[in-house]
């Protein structure tokens, strides 16, 4: 063996260097390891604040447009006029009555749709035939806009809420069933096996493992179903208007446009949006407390 000299090259061409070991350093040398966020960073970091800023910008642009472009208030009312009309409609109670009229129909349709979707999905996970039934029916009915069923629905159920509820059910059912079913199917084999390992099967396995594991998909289905239903409802009320007992928010918009109360039409549209945003943020809150907390969604 040849003597190895530090700094020299081995025959393989590696430069030899001395070895060393060090004790673990316990004191970090940086003083600024953690620093509190400043107030400004807190404000900027808040999603709600940023979104509110976007809304404020839109409102300012709208107000500036109506002020500077000199448009007819009858055609395009200003922010101030719209808010005044909104306030007036709220004060005389009409708006709340209309909103409640719409929400009543929506909730009934949503609840029935969810129930049917649950039945259909349980049927689909428990047998291959059920799975075929679900996938074929969703393939057929999902592309069919719910509003297209309204004329038929009115023929069957008359001019009242039942025909609207039928259309609501149609818009909720397929979206929820489709997403829940695909959610169930994508639950990992490992998690099913873990559930069965601890003696779970049948309905208990569905309730304790499949539903929470597929919760992200189920929630997506519920969101899509809600969005379909809400739009369909407003459109149905707008087009076919009449509903015994006064009609809903869509009817309020229709009525006021007939009377050329454009500011109230805007107020109605604003309310449609507001309710949409409220429900969306409700879903967001559920997501934050569940699937995001569990790390199943970013």
């Amino acid at each position: 063996m040849s003597i190895e000299v530090i700094g020299a090259r081995t025959p393989e061409g590696i430069v030899l260097r001395p070895e060393y070991e060090r004790p673990v350093e316990t004191k970090p040398d940086a003083k600024d390891v953690t620093r509190k966020l400043s107030t400004w960073e807190h404000i900027i970091g808040n999603e709600m604040v940023r979104k509110a800023a976007v809304v404020a910008l839109v409102l300012i642009a709208w107000q500036l447009y109506t002020d500077l472009a000199d448009v007819q208030p009858l055609v395009f009312p200003s922010v101030v006029d719209t808010l005044k009309a909104l306030f007036a409609s709220m004060m005389d109670g009409e708006l709340f009555l209309r909103v409640w009229g719409s929400l009543k129909v929506l909730l009934a349709g949503y609840a029935i749709g969810m129930g049917l979707a649950a039945l259909l999905t349980v049927f689909a996970v428990s047998s291959r035939f059920g799975s075929d039934v679900l996938s074929t029916l969703t393939a057929m009915f999902n592309p069919l806009p719910a509003i297209a069923l309204l004329p038929l629905s009115m023929l069957w159920f008359g001019l009242g809420s039942p025909s609207l509820i039928f259309v609501m059910v149609h818009s909720v059912l397929w979206a929820v069933a489709l997403n829940t079913h695909s959610g169930f199917r994508s639950v990992s084999e490992t998690q099913r096996m873990v559930g069965r390992n601890y003696g779970l099967k049948g309905v208990r396995l569905v309730a304790k493992v499949l539903i929470p594991a597929a919760f992200a998909s189920i929630l997506t289905g519920m969101k899509i179903g809600w969005a379909f239903a809400w739009r369909t409802l407003i459109a149905a009320e707008l087009v076919f208007g009449a509903n015994q007992g006064g009609g809903g928010l869509g009817w309020y918009i229709f009525e006021n446009s007939q009377n050329l109360n454009t500011d109230r039409v805007f107020a109605g549209l604003l309310t449609v949006m507001l309710i949409g945003v409220l429900v969306e943020s409700g879903f967001r809150a559920i997501e934050k407390r569940t699937v995001q907390r569990w790390g199943m969604q970013r």
């Binding site: 990992s188 490992t190 998690q191 096996m193 873990v194 069965r196 390992n197 601890y198 003696g199 779970l200 208990r204 304790k208 493992v209 929470p212 594991a213 919760f215 569940t290 907390r293 569990w294 790390g295 199943m296």
Partner: protein
């Protein structure tokens, strides 16, 4: 220590797990595949029994069959004399996949979930104290209220082991539990598993494709050949540790298994 094993000594107890002539076939889209072919072995109490073989030897399939998930096409799996027909909490499985922890439950809740549903505990309170005890054993007390997605891979596997041990199963089945971990964590996990075994001497059936892991973890090794899985040998490794003491025996056994699996080519069955 198990140093002096006397072959003429017949313990009063029969084996905990008896696998007899188990053949498992399954169907893919265009093939019938035989995963294991007439495999037999016995696992006794406090064994650290390892199923070792290259991929395709059906070791995982065999373990799932013992778990009760896959019925054998032929042969019998008996646990304490009773034929295994379905999954149950007397045979807890620890998987390779990290998602074996339920993501919607905290570490502690994952263990409680097993204890309550598996029927070991009646009340949440009782389950809670058992869960904390076992989480302490795997050094995860600090993380008991964390959700699994905030843990590292090694920690997740430790929770799964704690969940399995807390059930006090007749046999703990581990399906390549450390295969998805990095090499350093894997070494650490092997040592920790052995420490846990020293404490309670639970019966373990461990599947791996690493010869080294088999020798370190196992007290007895069943070597399986691939396509289809057949028993090649059953070897003792209870004296082997990673330490310097038995280094030459360790590497001798390693080489012996290596030759069995890779050097001697099976003649007729090859290329199936």
């Amino acid at each position: 220590m198990l140093d002096s094993f006397n072959p003429s000594y017949n313990p009063a107890c029969s084996p905990i797990l008896r696998v007899e002539n188990v053949t498992i076939r399954y169907q893919t889209d265009d093939h019938h595949v035989t995963a294991t072919d007439r495999v037999s072995f016995d696992v006794f109490e406090s064994d650290r029994f390892v199923l070792l073989g290259p991929s395709g030897c059906g070791k995982s399939t065999l373990l799932k069959s013992i778990g009760g998930y896959i019925p054998p096409t032929a042969g019998d799996v008996r646990l304490k004399g009773k034929k295994v027909t379905e999954p149950g909490p007397d045979r807890v499985l620890v998987f390779q996949e990290f998602d074996q922890l339920l993501p919607w439950k905290t570490v502690r809740q994952n263990v409680i979930f097993a204890l309550i549903n598996g029927g070991r505990c009646k009340t949440e309170k009782e389950a809670d104290s058992i869960a904390l005890h076992y989480l302490d054993k795997v050094k995860l007390s600090k993380f008991k209220d964390n959700y699994p997605h905030t843990l590292s891979g090694g920690m997740k596997q430790r929770v799964a082991i704690a969940r399995g041990l807390a059930m006090k199963p007749s046999i703990l089945l581990m399906d390549e539990p450390f295969a998805a971990l990095d090499a350093l964590t894997r070494l650490q996990m092997q040592d920790e598993l052995l420490e846990l075994w020293e404490e309670t001497k639970f019966t373990l059936l461990f599947v791996t494709h690493s010869i080294e892991e088999a020798i370190v973890v196992g007290s007895r090794i069943l070597v399986l050949s691939p396509h289809p899985g057949q028993v090649r040998a059953e070897l003792n490794s209870h004296k082997m540790t990673r330490g310097e003491a038995g280094a030459s025996e360790f590497s001798a056994l390693h080489d012996r298994i290596y030759e069995m699996l890779f050097v001697e080519k099976p003649t007729a069955r090859a290329g199936a």
